[in-house]
């Protein structure tokens, strides 16, 4: 066989791979399995050799090896964060995080909720109170919480190195850079300001101090630290403890039990090996302490936090090796798969405990995991379903019809599509916030809208029936008139709500119930009842038509009517209409009864759903239009030529063909609803029961005291459904790309 000239590329790349293997071996030389990296070097060597001496076949193998190595490298870098989070979720050593020491107080801010309430601020800390300025006040302004506030006289914000505490209305709001005041200036809180308590609240929780005593303290409310104003002490009145400052409830004591502070925490002796010890960080250096006497670490399943010499440390029950930061260097001694996960020392020790604990209690808030799951699912499916329901016909119209205003409509879509959802946050927040009605009124609105949609469905069916009844052209007029009357009714009802609702509300509940159930029963009977019953209404037009001519002719006509009315589909539209009517009646009644507890649309999933539809609907219409554009027009034209009506064409030709498109659009809607954060975080902050999974996850990251393993487990649980669906529908999504579909 003829020898080929050496291939420089293969030789160079092979040498590089060899070097890479050697480098990995060197870097991870402490790891017992590090020699395995020599395989990479050997592969590189064989590639280089093949490049130098090999024939064509060997070179092909060498190229294959290089490509596979490259692909595996890419795969590892793609999977790296995934493996990391999976590894972390199964890490048996709970949390190993440094304490977030506050720059002023040296208090670990991530553990504030565990601090004893009487924890003293260091001597040099000062708490300053800022007052909002009046409009004519020319003093230097700064903006806090949406309002301008004056800096205290003699203060500037120039120095960034010495932050201090600002207090506004007794809320600690910022670590703000303020240069300290000159001596003797007093800007402390006026105790008179804090005593404005409402009548229902027990005020013995917070008592004014004697002069000379100053045990300042801390409380945590909604995850934020608050300082107790100077001049006030805390009096523990048992559990829960209510604090009230300026009419605001600051804390209800859900603090975990701490060892008594008088228990001394002694430094470890040289060579001593305690069953559990405590790490305390002091200006970067670490000191270890034994457990306080009398504290049972064996029974603690969660990490325990202890107080030692004014600083908090942490300890994991019984697993002393897990606490030491030095032992973290052991990550190299781990099986290869956990290299990228977070240093599980022994994979056999991995546990799914964090998953269990996340499902048991996802966050410190009292909201449960099933509730979060339900909220997320409702939001995601609701948005997806609604967008499909409302958007499909519009997409079809934009794709297939030429009509005046089409260009303007498309331009509007493009404009709206360009706006990120953050950009309409402010107006939506303000608008939805104004919808504060009683729950019955809200129910009324829902029923009304639902009835309206169902009625529209009924009318659509009715149109189909009418089109199918070419022979009964004269009857069409009557049915059309009935249809028109119904639409008018729906249009007029909102304007006569006060009158009609009071009238309906005056009906006794029993009578009302009977009325609507009779309506429902009638509908059901007409739909699926025996043929005789179904044919009954056929008598009406027969009777209503005055008999002309021979009785035999009249009987003939009557029979024809009855035959026609016995067709099962004939009453489907009527059923829709009457269902709409029932819902409308309910709406009227709920509106008339009114009352109930005040209800803010903004703080519910409904509000978030509406706000999401604002962004998702234009996108879905645009996306579905893209799909429909790709379906050949000839199919519909053929159907039209064969005598189908446009509505029939839409339902029988277009919808089945566009199904994949609809599915993908719904998937995009679902993903965006499932991972929605901006709107829900802004809207639902006050209403914990409406939290979604994504919000809870972010909350876990915000609460720095949440174990990382729990955070990892939660993020896996949240991402599994969408990722799975994405993978299952991957084929459609990729084909959807050609028509401009993007990830929602």
């Amino acid at each position: 066989m003829r020898r080929q000239p050496p291939s420089i590329g293969l030789v160079v790349l092979g040498t590089l791979v060899m070097a890479l293997g050697a480098l990995l071996w060197y870097l991870l030389r402490d790891w017992p399995y590090a020699p395995a990296f020599s395989i990479i070097s050997l592969l590189g060597l064989s590639v280089a050799l093949a490049g130098f001496w090999g024939n064509r076949r060997w070179r092909r193998v060498a190229r294959q090896i290089l490509a596979q190595l490259a692909c595996i490298l890419i795969l590892i870098s793609v999977l790296f964060p995934v493996l990391w989070i999976v590894g972390m979720s199964m890490d048996p050593r709970d949390i190993l995080r440094p304490l977030d020491l506050s720059p002023i107080t040296n208090i670990p801010t991530n553990l504030l909720h565990l601090l004893p309430k009487s924890f003293a601020l260091p001597e040099e800390t000062t708490v300053f109170h800022l007052q909002p300025t009046t409009s004519e006040d020319p003093s230097p302004k700064t903006l806090i919480m949406g309002a301008f506030h004056a800096l205290p006289e003699g203060w500037t914000r120039a120095d960034l190195r010495r932050p201090d505490v600002w207090l506004i209305g007794s809320d600690l709001i910022a670590w703000a850079p303020i240069v300290p005041l000159p001596e003797g200036t007093d800007t402390l809180i006026d105790p008179g300001q804090v005593t404005r308590l409402s009548d229902e609240v027990q005020i013995e929780a917070l008592l004014p101090l004697e002069e000379a005593v100053r045990p300042d303290g801390w409380v945590v409310w909604e995850g934020r630290p608050y300082a107790v104003p100077r001049g006030w002490s805390l009096k523990q009145v048992g559990n829960p403890t209510l604090w009230l400052l300026d009419n605001r409830l600051l804390s209800w004591g859900i603090l975990s039990p701490l060892p008594p502070p008088e228990n001394p925490v002694a430094p470890l002796a040289e060579g001593e090996k305690p069953t559990c010890y405590l790490v305390i960080k002091e200006k970067g250096a670490e000191r270890r302490y034994t457990c306080p006497p009398g504290y049972r670490t064996e029974v603690a399943t969660e990490p325990a936090y202890w107080l030692a010499g004014g600083t908090l440390g942490l300890c994991n029950g019984g697993q002393s090796s897990a606490i030491s930061k030095d032992n973290l260097g052991d990550w190299r001694h781990s099986p290869a798969i956990w290299l990228v996960g977070r240093s599980i020392v022994d994979w056999r020790a991995s546990s799914l405990r964090s998953f269990a604990s996340v499902i048991k209690q996802p966050t410190l808030n009292p909201v449960s995991f099933p509730q979060l799951l339900l909220n997320s699912t409702l939001l995601a499916t609701g948005v997806a379903f609604f967008c499909i329901l409302v958007g499909t016909t519009a997409a079809y119209a934009f794709s297939r019809f030429q009509f005046p205003g089409r260009q303007a409509g498309m331009l509007g879509f493009v404009l709206v599509l360009m706006m990120p959802s953050v950009a309409t946050l402010a107006p939506l927040y303000a608008i939805l916030n104004t919808v504060q009605v009683g729950p019955n009124a809200f129910r009324a609105i829902l029923w009304f809208v639902g009835g309206f949609l169902i009625a529209i469905g009924g009318i659509l069916f009715l149109l189909r029936v009418l089109e199918g009844m070419r022979k009964w052209r004269r009857r069409n007029l009557g049915l059309s008139l009935a249809c028109l009357a119904f639409i008018t009714l729906w249009g007029v009802v909102p304007f006569m709500v006060p009158a009609a609702s009071s009238w309906v509300a005056q009906l006794p509940a029993g009578l009302f119930g009977v009325l609507q159930w009779v309506l429902v029963a009638l509908t059901v009977a007409l739909l699926i009842g025996p043929a005789g019953v179904r044919g009954l209404p056929g008598l009406l037009p027969g009777v209503a038509t005055p008999p002309r001519g021979q009785p035999r002719v009249w009987q003939e006509r009557l029979r024809a009517f009855r035959r026609h009315f016995q067709r099962p589909w004939f009453f489907l539209p009527l059923a829709f209409l009457s269902l709409g009517l029932v819902l409308g009646l309910n709406a009227l009644r709920a509106w008339g009864i009114g009352g109930g507890e005040e209800f803010n649309l903004r703080t519910t999933l409904w509000g978030v759903g509406i706000a999401m539809v604002a962004g998702a609907l234009p996108f879905s219409i645009w996306n579905m239009k893209g799909f429909i554009d790709t379906i050949p027009k000839e199919l519909e034209e053929a159907a039209l030529i064969d005598g189908a009506s446009p509505t029939q064409t839409f339902f029988q030709i277009m919808l089945p063909l566009a199904m994949p498109g609809l599915a993908v659009t719904a998937l995009f809607g679902f993903i965006s609803g499932w991972t929605e954060f901006v709107l829900s975080w802004q809207f639902l902050a006050d209403n914990m029961n409406q939290f979604t999974l994504a919000m809870a996850l972010y909350g876990m990251q915000g609460e720095r005291n949440t174990p990382w393993a729990n955070f990892a487990a939660m993020s896996i649980l949240v991402s599994i459904p969408v990722t799975l669906v994405f993978f299952l529908l991957q084929k459609y999504i990729v084909s959807g790309l050609t028509v401009g579909a993007v990830k929602g």
Partner: protein
């Protein structure tokens, strides 16, 4: 001419009237009705409401709207009405003050600087999309190579970054950049606080080098001197000897950029970061305009005369200086951290699009090229690039929009740290609502963002149309 006018007139006569056409298309309107009804309430009304909000000082106090939105709107126009209806809590009409405050950096928010944010946002977008496209096309080509085993397996798994919700990936990356226990520091052995470190890597490098050589901490600009001299010399040579004037002009611009940048950095009186920061945005703003003009000149749509060329040259120089300062002196480690995260997140999208386009290229083209003696490199530029361009241009535009508004990555990975240096427009807009509760200002901010997006869309549209003319 006359014939055309006649036919046009006839067409006008023959065209049915507007009412006729509307009546004929009544089914279309019927189909659109539900969506229109919904969007009018939920989408368009808030947009209009936002315009009104942006002209008022809408704040927390106005949220307790007792008498509804319209009383508020009415009250903001007529103070007398507002005085008579305190329940309506109408905001004050402030005109364009919000806009002026935003653009003039007069919002007293920590680290707020609109023009820095805008330029950062643009640079963030460009760098990201550049890497997305390069990596996406490269990996798509690797996966498309003939005879590669396990192709389908790799293709399926490379989509993972795209399939994971961006929110989750952002949080995971945030976690991985943790100073003490994050993956990046654990694996690399670094002790770097990626997300909080305020010094930029270039600053640290230059200061360290200059200290090591003995020039002192502040002597670092002189380290640039040899490189700048070489660049200027090369540029001057090329300027006089270049075959085409256009290439010469661009290279001259490059050299002068280096020289001027050196002068800027070397002299202490302009070096202080505070003074640089205020200069920066004028440089960048002016430069961006020049760059757009330059792009049109390059695509042959605009033939500049001598003065035009000079203006383009100067703006490109200024842009170069601005970008250099921005990258070297303003972008901290967290920028590179979040960049890596977003590159990881974004390339599979480009890869998927490129794979689709690559599979459509017939193999015969490459064979013909090989027979004609073309190298692989030539085949790539002459066959692959022109043929995947039609698919890539829209994908790049979508990618640019997505990256420009990449809320999830920025907010969850860095959260704007350190000192709001990695804040982009959408995260700032979110902060205005979520943290500052300045609804009026947030509305004006969103309107400004809208105009920025519109300008970007128009410009990219123009450029992509200009590049499309370069077809096969």
């Amino acid at each position: 001419m006359a014939v055309q006018a006649l036919s046009r007139a006839r067409a006008r006569v023959a065209r049915p009237s507007l009412w006729q056409r509307i009546w004929e298309a009544r089914l279309a309107y019927f189909y659109i009705l539900p969506a229109f009804f919904m969007m009018a309430i939920v989408t368009f009304f808030p947009l209009i409401f936002q315009v009104w909000m942006s002209l008022t000082d809408y704040g927390i106090a106005n949220l307790k709207a007792g008498e509804g939105l319209f009383a508020q709107i009415w009250g903001s126009f007529f103070p007398a009405y507002a005085a008579g209806h305190p329940q309506a809590s109408a905001p004050h009409w402030v005109g364009l003050e919000n806009f002026l405050n935003i653009l003039g950096n007069r919002l007293a928010l920590p680290g707020y600087d609109f023009w820095y944010m805008l330029s950062f946002n643009l640079i963030w977008t460009l760098i990201n999309v550049f890497f997305h496209v390069i990596l996406g096309v490269a990996f798509a080509m690797l996966l498309n190579s003939k005879g590669l085993l396990f192709k389908r397996f790799y293709r399926a798994f490379y989509i993972i970054p795209w399939a994971l919700p961006a929110l989750i990936s952002g949080m995971i990356w945030h976690n991985m950049y943790d100073k003490d226990y994050g993956a990046i520091n654990l694996l690399s052995g670094l002790k770097l606080d990626w997300l909080k470190e305020t010094a930029t890597p270039l600053q640290q490098l230059f200061r360290g080098l200059s200290r090591g050589i003995g020039l002192g901490e502040e002597g670092w600009p002189y380290l640039l001197l040899p490189a700048v001299l070489a660049l200027v010399l090369a540029a001057a040579l090329l300027f006089y000897r270049a075959r085409s004037r256009r290439a010469g002009a661009l290279l001259g611009a490059l050299g002068s950029t280096a020289a001027a940048g050196f002068l800027f950095l070397a002299f202490p009186f302009v070096r202080g970061l505070d003074s640089l920061a205020s200069w920066l945005y004028y440089l960048i703003a002016f430069g961006v305009v020049g760059l757009i003009v330059a792009l049109f000149a390059l695509t042959g749509r605009y033939q500049p005369n001598a003065a035009g060329r000079a203006i383009v040259l100067i703006s490109v120089i200024l842009l170069g200086i601005g970008v250099l300062i921005l990258i070297g002196w303003e972008l901290p480690y967290s920028f590179y951290a979040v960049l890596l995260a977003n590159i990881w997140l974004g390339w599979p999208f480009m890869m998927t699009v490129a794979t689709g386009a690559l599979q459509g290229i017939p193999e015969e083209l490459y064979e013909a090229a090989r027979i004609d003696g073309a190298s692989d490199w030539q085949a790539f530029w002459q066959i692959t690039v022109p043929l995947i361009r039609p698919a890539m241009v829209p994908a790049i535009m979508i990618g640019m929009m997505m990256t420009f508004n990449q809320f999830n990555v920025i907010y969850f990975v860095t959260g704007g740290e350190p000192l709001h240096r990695t804040e982009i427009l959408v995260t700032q807009a979110f902060r205005l609502v979520n943290e500052q509760k300045l609804y009026g200002v947030a509305a004006s901010f969103s309107i400004i963002v809208f105009f920025v997006l519109a300008i970007i869309t128009i410009v990219t549209n123009r450029i992509s149309r200009a590049t499309e003319s370069y077809a096969v």
